[in-house]
């Protein structure tokens, strides 16, 4: 396996993009969740800090950092500390096997130009944003009527953005100085996926099953009966629904004939032509034998990420806050982050398996940088839509009963997924699809 500097730089770039994007999901989703719930319940929601309360999440993050990091007496200290990390790591790593754009050909020796263009754009955007925030903070604080926290958050965010911009410029200059990016051997294909494994989807399930441990450890190490109940409920629920989830995904794999998620997406780039008139994109949702799998997968994804209507792990009416009752400060924030990141990963998986991944319907993306940008944008739009569905469902459907959830998992969704799998297998064997 030969690889050179370009490969390493490209891999690091991909990892930086993916992890950076995922870490941004949490603050944005917290804002969307609060404003979305306000919208649905006919309230206003957070609107004090920043325009439309956009900076509220940063203020929350600041508050998390400033809170006391408390470990209850009688807790198993070591496990109590590593449990939140165990929760976050699987959520962050799963995205590695999901493709997020159309591969494109990097022309010869133009990599540096691309990197510097992107870098300068990013730096300018950061500087502008930071300056804007700082300026509006000055305006607001000179007029009075803003709370101290508001002003402090404004200054901090502005300074952080400006510093970020300066850091990007500095690193660009540094890269130019050591000539690290002007490396030979363009003319290679840029695959927008961190690790294109031939066991991609199985790895997703392996990592998803590791996510249980963070919750179980948190519940047990807290030495609190509510935490323990939350942890046990969460793990029972995740194990039960993982089966339905995997079986629903297997039918998508059968259609693609590969465990590689890039193959799954490429398979969906074609069209279903109905009666020679309607051209539907060949996404798995539109396939006559696959939509049951889609429904099962989405429901199981809700259960797998412990979201309402299946959030028994932290059912606040019954268990205080479930497995993270005893957690405070940044440790609690880590659980929060892993919940939202798991949601984003699940949305990305739903999009990849059933909604055509980065495919833009009725449009043939050119294999260039432009096409890559368009397809990546399409992917982000689809994932955003799925995330919004998560929020939408949470504030629309009430919580089920726990025994109903388990019964539904084993007696409805698992058999449904199995029957659908058999139908898909038959359809493929007969050559219908």
């Amino acid at each position: 396996m030969a690889f050179d500097t370009t490969d390493i730089v490209l891999s690091l770039l991909k990892i930086a993009i993916v992890v950076g994007a995922l870490l941004q999901v949490t603050p944005i989703m917290v804002w969307v969740e609060r404003r979305g719930s306000a919208l649905i319940q006919d309230r206003v929601g957070p609107n004090r800090i920043g325009p439309f309360g956009l900076i509220q999440s940063f203020a929350d993050a600041l508050k998390f950092v400033l809170k006391e990091d408390f470990t209850p007496a009688g807790a198993n200290k070591w496990l109590f500390t590593i449990a939140p990390m165990f929760g976050l790591i699987p959520a962050l790593t799963t995205i590695a096997v999901v493709p997020w754009g159309r591969p494109f050909l990097i022309p010869e020796a133009i990599l540096y130009e691309h990197v510097s263009t992107i870098g300068w754009t990013l730096a300018l955007a950061l500087l502008f944003l930071g300056g804007g925030v700082a300026f509006s903070t000055v305006r607001v604080s000179s007029r009075g009527g803003a709370s101290k926290l508001n002003v402090a958050v404004g200054w901090l965010v502005g300074a952080a953005l400006i510093l970020g911009g300066l850091a990007v410029i500095l690193s660009l200059a540094g890269l130019k100085a050591v000539d690290a990016i002007r490396i030979p051997g363009g003319n290679r294909i840029f695959e927008p996926i961190v690790a294109d494994l031939n066991v991609g989807l199985l790895l997703v399930f392996a990592l998803a099953s590791m996510g249980v441990y963070g919750i179980v450890m948190a519940g047990w190490a807290s030495n609190n009966k509510f935490s323990l109940f939350g942890g046990i409920r969460a793990s029972a629920q995740m194990i039960s629904y993982e089966l339905a989830l995997s079986l629903a995904a297997v039918s998508a794999l059968l259609v693609a004939g590969s465990l590689r998620l890039t193959d799954v997406v490429w398979k969906q780039t074609g069209y279903f032509v109905i009666f020679d008139t309607v051209k539907l994109p060949a996404w798995n949702v539109f396939s006559p034998v696959m939509w049951i799998a889609f429904v099962v997968f989405v429901i199981a994804a809700f259960a797998e990420t412990n979201r309402l209507p299946f959030d028994f792990a932290e059912a606040e009416a019954e268990l205080v806050a479930g497995y993270h009752t005893e957690y405070s400060s940044m440790k609690f924030a880590l659980f929060f982050m892993s919940e939202y990141i798991a949601m984003a990963t699940m949305s990305a998986l739903i999009v990849t398996l059933f909604l055509g991944g980065w495919d833009i319907p009725w449009y043939h993306e050119p294999p260039t940088f432009f096409g890559f940008l368009l397809s990546a944008l399409a992917f982000v739009v689809k994932v955003t839509f799925m995330l919004f569905v998560f929020v939408w469902v949470r504030w629309t459907i009430p919580r089920l009963k726990y025994d109903i959830l388990m019964k539904a998992g084993w007696k409805v969704f698992l058999p449904l997924a199995l029957v659908n799998l058999i139908i898909v297998a038959l359809a493929i064997a007969k050559g219908w699809i």
């Binding site: 031939n198 399930f205 392996a206 099953s209 249980v212 441990y213 793990s235 029972a236």
Partner: protein
Amino acid sequence: MLEFIVFFVFAAIAVIFALAVILHRNPVVGALSLVASFFALAVMYVLLEAPFLAVLQIIVYAGAIMVLFLFVIMLLNLQHAREENTRPIQQFLGYTGSAAFGLGLVYYIAKYAALQLPNGPFNADARAVGVELFQAYIFPFEMVSILLLAAIVGALLLSGRLPSKVRAADGEGAR
């Protein structure tokens, strides 16, 4: 070179956590250590060019079997149970005997099983394993599925709350 670093790091992890399993008094810590050890073994499988089985190892062992262990430990609240030491003679014989056994095993492997490196990469992806499984091994495969069914029924019978009708019909056998 990189491969050897990975090998030794994860071999050390596997061995240290395996030792924690048998030496630590708290079964919850033991179970979690075993998970770490299995994870390191999955890395070994990747080094052995069997990524499919590596992922299966994580799904089946780390993801399913060990969660079951943890569940039972938590359900029975075993973390506070005092486990008394075995008899001194048993301890002594156990440790020395297994150490001798292990040393002998390592010695003979190092002496006789130092094989030539295989030539060429080994293509063992999911497709190859699947084709072999469903052609040459279809009968054992079906047998294993029956065995799993029997295990489900057995586990339910041993631990589950059966309906009272079944219990009455079971008569003497019921607890």
